[in-house]
């Protein structure tokens, strides 16, 4: 029992600190709200230290195999915590500037992180569902946090209703699988499928529901409809959050399903993901071109990137061929995507000021004249998202494409490349606006020193990882040796 408790020590600590923070926040005057922020950062930091200190070398189970502790979960948790640290940095500035600095944002954020950590370590269908619901409920509330803003309320409502629908589909899928196999344990489901292939149609029936729920969480076409509205409507600090860390958690959840439970249904889920992937890359990249709002444009860009991420998951079949699992490419992809995404949305925060969200593309015109350094940082984000070397976005795409070709799905790689080229248009358009157009207004960037430093760091990290992608890739391969 003690060992089991030790295994979930990071989660326990995070939960305790979040609860304490909730109480603490109720008792401090609003002008000292930044204390909540600092304590939230501390909670993340402590949890991150605990995760790294007890980094699992082998796979261990706890609580009747409902909780898994393996290298992948450790890595995913560590990435989520670090990314969230960045997110809180950016968010604090945004919330203060726009006068909505409330403790709830950070408390909800911490609970969301807890949900993600549980998803990453789930050993049974029930744990996955618990983690997912904890995450989703926090996100709904965060989107709605800016109560006076009609778009935010509308976005929250849409997100909530569609999320509930997806949740229902997931539960339905889970209940079918449970009904057939009689177990919630992922490993046992896996064994059941292996020895009961005559139940295949029914299993696939359940699988489709589960994959649809995953696709909703990730935002793959045609289950992506919530993404543009929520990204645009939510406060930028929340958009920043939704677009990054939960994607890593959703990736972990996908691996739990497709690898731990449904490994013997590989052709089926691969087929589904291929369709979703192509649709996502096509729709995401093409619709993004028509957007004039940068948050909405980045929303469609997320959809396109999810398509690419799915390619990484699809290529898991090349395990035997090269000794490197395609999942490692997908992990690399999702982590670097999260890093680029917080950078890009963080930049929107950086450009904004009270009463003005710099979320129209026109706001970026002539930025290079006004502030060459930050124009350069934004250029790094855009080039990296578009997949231009030497930035890390290029390597992320490269590794995925390499594995896809190794898997023998070369036509899929061609499709991916074609849509990447189409996608390059709208990223480069931002660069063009910054460097070649005349500024509309000469308002200077009004952001704190911390914000400037953190976003520069973010940009340089992308450059550094682009110059030596091996740093991160070696780690990803190491932890994804499933």
């Amino acid at each position: 029992m003690l060992i089991e408790l030790q295994m979930i020590l990071p989660e326990i600590v995070l939960m305790s600190m979040a609860c304490a923070l909730l109480v603490f926040d109720a008792f401090i005057p609003s002008e000292r709200r930044h204390l909540t922020y600092l304590l939230a950062q501390l909670a993340l930091l402590v949890t991150a230290v605990l995760v790294v200190a007890s980094f699992p070398q082998i796979t261990e189970y706890a609580f009747n195999r409902t909780f898994v502790d393996d290298p992948m979960s450790g890595a995913v948790k560590a990435f989520i915590l670090v990314i969230t640290l960045f997110i809180f940095f950016y968010s604090h500035d945004y919330l203060k500037e726009h006068g909505i600095l409330k403790g709830e944002y950070f408390v909800l954020g911490l609970f969301a992180v807890l949900g993600m950590m549980i998803m990453a370590s789930a050993g049974s269908l029930l744990t996955i569902y618990l983690g997912l619901e904890l995450l989703s409920l926090c996100l709904y509330a965060m989107v709605a946090m800016h109560r006076d803003s009609p778009p935010a309320s509308e976005a929250a409502m849409k997100y909530f209703v569609l999320g509930a629908l997806a949740s229902g589909l997931l539960l339905y899928g889970i209940s079918i699988i449970y009904g057939i196999s009689g177990t919630l344990d992922l490993q046992e489901i896996n064994n059941y499928i292996l020895y009961n292939s005559e139940r295949l149609p029914m299993l696939v029936y359940g699988l489709v529901f589960i994959i649809v729920a995953i696709a909703f969480k990730l935002g793959a076409v045609p289950f992506h409809m919530w993404i543009p509205d929520v990204y645009q409507g939510a406060p930028t600090s929340v958009t920043l959050f939704i677009s990054s860390a939960p994607k890593i958690a959703a990736f972990a959840m996908t691996i739990r399903f497709v690898n731990d439970a449904f490994m013997h249904l590989t052709p089926e889920w691969q087929g589904i993901l291929i369709i979703l992937s192509i649709l996502s890359m096509a729709m995401g990249n093409i619709i993004a071109i028509a957007q004039s709002n940068i948050k909405r444009m980045l929303a469609y860009s997320t959809i396109a990137h999810i398509g690419f991420l799915l390619l990484g998951i699809i290529s898991s079949q090349s395990v035997s061929a090269t000794g490197v699992t395609g999942f490692a490419d997908a992990l690399f992809y999702v982590v670097t995507y999260a890093l680029m995404s917080i950078g890009a949305f963080g930049f929107v925060i950086l450009m904004g000021r009270k009463g003005h969200e710099a979320d129209e593309l026109d706001d970026y015109k002539g930025l290079a004249d006004k502030n060459p350094w930050f124009a350069l940082i934004m250029l790094i984000f855009m080039f990296s998202l578009a997949g231009v070397p030497p930035f890390v976005g290029f390597w992320a795409k490269w590794f995925v494409l390499k594995e896809i070709v190794a898997t023998g799905l070369a036509p899929l790689a061609v499709i991916a490349v074609v849509f990447s080229i189409i996608g390059a248009y709208y990223y480069l358009r931002v660069v063009k606006l910054m460097y070649f157009d005349k500024p509309v207004s000469m308002t200077a960037i009004k952001a704190t020193q911390t914000m400037r430093a953190v976003i520069s760091l973010n940009g340089l990290a992308i450059l550094l990882l682009g110059v030596s992608p091996g740093l991160l890739m070696t780690f990803c391969i190491e932890v994804m040796k499933l």
Binding site: M157, K158, V161, L162, L165, A166, L169, G179, I180, E198, R199, L200, P201, M202, V204, Y205, L207, V208, F209, I211, V212, F216, P222, F223, M225, W226, P228, D229, E268, G271, I272, I275, M283, I286, I287, A288, I289, A290, Q291, I422, Y425
Partner: protein, 663 residues
Amino acid sequence: MFNDLQTLCLVIVLAPLAGALLAGLGGGILGRAGAHTVTILGVLVATICSFVVFKQVIVDGMPPADFTVYEWLSSGNFSLQVGFLIDPLTVTMMSVVTFVSLMIHVYTIGYMHDDPGYTRFFSYISLFTFAMLMLVMANNFMQLFFGWEAVGVVSYLLIGFWYQRESAIFANLKAFLVNRVGDFGFLIGIAAVLMYFNSLDYADVFAGAPDLAGQQITLYGTEVWSVMTFICICLFIGAMGKSAQVPLHVWLPDSMEGPTPISALIHAATMVTAGIFMVARMSPLFEFSETALNFVMFIGAVTALFMGLLGLVQNDIKRVIAYSTLSQLGYMTVALGASAYAAAIFHLATHAFFKALLFLAAGSVIIGMHHEQDMRKMGGLYRYMPVTWICCFLGTLALIGFPGTSGFFSKDMIIEAVHLSTLPAAGFAYWSLVIGVIVTALYSFRLFFMTFHGSERMDRDTWEHIHESPAVVWVPLCALAIPSIFIGLFLVGPMLFENYFAGSILVQEQHNVLATLGEDYHGPWGLIVHSFTSPMILLCMATGIFLAWIGYLKQPDLPGKLAGWLKWPYRVLVNKYGFDAFNQIIFAGGARKLGALLWQIGDVKLIDGLVVNGTALTVRWFSGVIRHLQTGYLYHYAFAMIIGLVFLLVFFVHRIGFAGLTP
């Protein structure tokens, strides 16, 4: 992580780079004095370290070192690295490059004194030093190519340094385009190396060369070549571009549009010798293809003789030296073809010194004459510029190969080596070089007499202001004059006949002309005595000097009459054999016409109109249409999800069969 040698090598390449970056990016803050201080400091550090490495390798006999300092990326068994190969050949080049570069940095302070682009200029020449060092120190083809292109870029920037001048822009574009032709061959050569050796590391490639010697490659149709010949000729085409061999020589005379220190540094002493160095470095490949060696020797011989002849009719002081450079590069190339790689490198080193000296002396004259470069408006300058006069005289003696000077040892050895070579092209090459000696002496002394002696032909205004150049100009002259005269005396024995290039240059037994020469070698004095006992070369030289004396001192109207009598040959020479006109009309003109045609029909109508704009418009239209799917209505969204679900269910469950769909 780093041992001493690695640190030292890193310092050598990074010091000039740091200087270049500081002067280039921080030039505004550092100011003029700051810019020249940091760059000279950087190059000085590099020079000292190079000498230290030179001592370690040559004097202390350290074995060659080959190491990688940084691996950029690896993909399968192919990797791109930054690494250094330190052996006698490398350290020789490093020392020459850094020393000449240092002299030119100092000289530039005086020459560019009033130029508005002062800091930019220092940044460029330091950057050039960095690039050149990367090139010579490389241990793999990729880095070689990096250095190769980087020196090309800096050369382009420097030829067009005075970018307001129409002629400078024309010249740098020309240099760039002609070099592109050469680089194209070079790149194909490197690609072929990668294809056949499966590696870009020198060590792997050279080790694998003997195994590949017999292999054939089918080029097109039934044309079958030896792989080695193909690789070597492609690589040599690169060298032809960079080292300005006929017919890719046309850019070098025009490159004199750049400031004089550049003409000295890049277009005489270092960059143009990159091709020579590269071929010497690749000796383990070239040795396996006699066809390629013949080709090299033939091209070199043509360049040596015919480019020298052009020097006779030029009136611009710098252009005469430029044609002389072409001719001397031809000598080096012939030596390469004769497998006398050591002689080529030896001539490269001595030439670097005396040609830099001549250019800087010319620069000094140009300063004294207030940027007048036409020799017809000079004359009698020895009275006003004595230091320049003496230095120029010493440089001229070295250039024509007067017995005892460094040019004598290096050039004579090349001629003797070719004489012994058994390749089919050797006969032609030998006589070209011997006639070349007369031509060299003639144009060298023509320049010397027209500039420093004879009647004073400048206008009065200029005449009043003629003065000796400041110390920063003449000190480098003297510093270069010393090695120009003496370095041959000390180096000829070790470099050519002792085991100097041990391991870094490979010569096969049947090609080894230097070994044959070495049997009769009795020290440098023996060579001088020999030149008097069998005086053919000496007589050729004397003929040249005598002709120059007659034509430009004794009977100054004779050349004009001669040109009148020999109208046709004279016009051929003045028109530079028509290479420029041919390129201008056929290649430049033709390419422009073809370009205009393709632009009008292919680009504007087909590609822009139909493909690019068409695609873009289609995508944008499509994008505009399907964005309306995003209606904003919640029930539409939910509906889309359900449709998607149903579709997936039907599609995937159907594949297995609905029959099994029982609980």
